[in-house]
């Protein structure tokens, strides 16, 4: 077994254990919220999903910059891998948020809320990034266009993250505000959920990078085989 496989398996086992612990903590250990009731328990995994999405998009930006600087396709593979993970987890955050909203606000979505709108825009920007990549054939052109696109997409990340902190909106600000501060047991449960999702993110990222590197090798070998037989 290769050292990277050992690291990945260890990460997967740790993530699985922490995930089970975090589900137990979120459902049974953390107290029921006094005003929102049980539906508040969505928050533990909704915020953790959004956290992974921000990490994914943030990493896409950093690796895209590195690609622009070095023109090394390895960075483009990293950027694409983290962007895809970001889109998957942003989808989870965007679909679980309305479940909470319907129970607390009485509506699934508030179009006037900047936090919600900026997160939707961020999600659409990175879906467009994936669509763009899927439709460009030239490897180098695909990497160049994607890098420029993800750098533009970066504008949405701080706006989405800070919208509820900068402008008074409906979306609650749980961390770093007195009114939204968590009880110790809620904070602990939330911390474990964040840790579980972060480790899960690292595991998925390593797997995805390996897959994309393998895909590049397959494409190269296909061209070699085509060259021999063509």
């Amino acid at each position: 077994m290769r050292p990277l496989d050992k690291v990945r398996i260890t990460l997967l086992v740790v993530a699985a254990i922490l995930t089970l612990v975090s589900i137990y903590l979120a459902v049974l250990y953390a107290p029921t919220h006094t005003t929102m009731g049980d539906v508040q328990r969505i928050f533990y995994f909704h915020v953790s999903s959004a956290w992974v999405a921000y990490m994914g998009f943030g990493l896409t930006f950093v690796t895209s910059l590195l690609y622009m600087k070095t023109k090394d396709l390895k960075w483009d593979v990293y950027a694409y891998s983290s962007a895809q993970i970001g889109v998957v987890f942003c989808t989870l955050a965007i679909t679980t948020g309305p479940m909470w909203a319907k129970a607390v606000w009485g509506v699934y979505w508030r179009w006037e809320d900047l936090k919600l709108m900026m997160t939707l825009v961020l999600w659409l920007v990175f879906i467009a990034y994936l669509v763009l990549r899927a439709n460009v054939q030239s490897r180098r052109k695909k990497a160049n266009l994607s890098a420029v696109f993800s750098i533009i997409g970066l504008i949405c990340i701080p706006l989405s993250f800070a919208a509820n902190r900068l402008w008074s909106q409906y979306h609650p600000t749980v961390i770093a505000t007195e009114e939204g501060s968590l009880q110790a047991s809620m904070g602990f449960s939330f911390g474990i959920a964040l840790l579980a999702f972060t480790i899960l993110f690292i595991y998925i990222l390593l797997t995805k990078i390996e897959i994309e590197t393998m895909r590049e090798t397959v494409e190269e070998l296909k061209q070699k085989v085509g060259g021999r037989h063509g």
Binding site: V39, F45, M99, W100
Partner: protein, 48 residues
């Protein structure tokens, strides 16, 4: 009761989503491994 329905729905979305995505990655990886083996066999295994 409605609260719990939303809670179950949200938890199902999160864990089913993560599980399906990881399964999709796993099958993608298996397919690529197979392709890689096949291509290497064609490149190195066939008579010159």
């Amino acid at each position: 009761m409605a609260d719990l329905t939303f809670l179950y729905a949200a938890y199902t979305i999160v864990w089913a989503g993560v599980f399906v995505y990881m399964l999709w990655l796993h099958f993608d990886q298996l397919k690529l491994r197979k392709d890689l083996e096949l291509l290497e066999e064609v490149l190195h295994g066939e008579p010159e």
